[in-house]
Symmetry: C2
Subunit: 104 residues, 2 copies
C-alpha cells in the first residue's frame, strides 16, 4: 500500500515525471518495478510516489541534484530510458528544488 | 482528456499535493472541480496535472511564489481548505522551484 512519502525537512529535490502511455504493456510494468527497486538503492534517494489515470504522475525525491544526476546516468537506467519512446506518447521530466512543505 | 501540462521554460514553480483520501465523496468531487476552475483564473497559473490510484498526486504550476501565496489565501480556497481533514487521512503539500525540464 502506497503512502505519502516521508521526506526530511526542506530543502531537498523532486523529479516530477508526467506521462501519457502508449497502448499495451510492452514490458513496461516489469521495467518500472525494476527501476523503482534500483532507484531506491541509490545514494540520496528519499522516497517515491506514483499514480496513473488518464496521465501518470510519478515523483521521486532526492537529497541533491548530484544524486539525481547519478541516477539519470546509472547504466541500467540509461538502458531503460532508451525504451521510453515505445512506452510513452508524451512525457515531461521536471527537476525541482522543494523549498517548503506542510501537511498531516 | 488530460495531457502533460504545457509549461514555459524554467524557472517556474510547482506545488505537489500528495494525498490519501478518506472513504466516501463528502462533497469532494464538486469542490475539486470548482477549485481547479478557480485556480486556473488566478494570475500566474500555468497548468495542472492530476492522477489518483492508491494515493492521489496533483501538481499545479505557477509563475512565482507570490502567485502561489495569492492562491493559498484566496477566500474561496481558504473555505475549502477547512474541509481537508474530512477528505484526506493524510496529505503533504510541497512547494518547489522547477529548475529544468525536458521531454517530448
Amino acid at each position: 500500500m502506497q503512502t505519502v512519502a516521508k521526506t526530511p525537512a526542506p530543502p531537498y529535490y523532486a523529479v516530477i515525471f508526467t506521462s501519457v502511455r502508449t497502448d499495451g504493456d510492452n514490458g513496461y510494468g516489469e521495467a518500472a518495478a525494476r527501476m523503482l527497486e534500483s532507484a531506491s538503492k541509490q545514494n540520496g534517494f528519499l522516497g517515491f510516489e506514483t499514480a496513473r489515470q488518464e496521465i501518470g504522475i510519478s515523483v521521486s525525491y532526492w537529497s541533491s541534484t548530484e544524486a539525481i544526476k547519478a541516477w539519470k546516468e546509472n547504466a541500467e537506467h540509461r538502458e531503460t530510458q532508451k525504451k521510453a519512446k515505445g512506452w510513452y506518447s508524451s512525457f515531461r521530466v521536471r527537476v525541482c528544488r522543494v523549498e517548503k512543505d506542510y501537511g498531516f
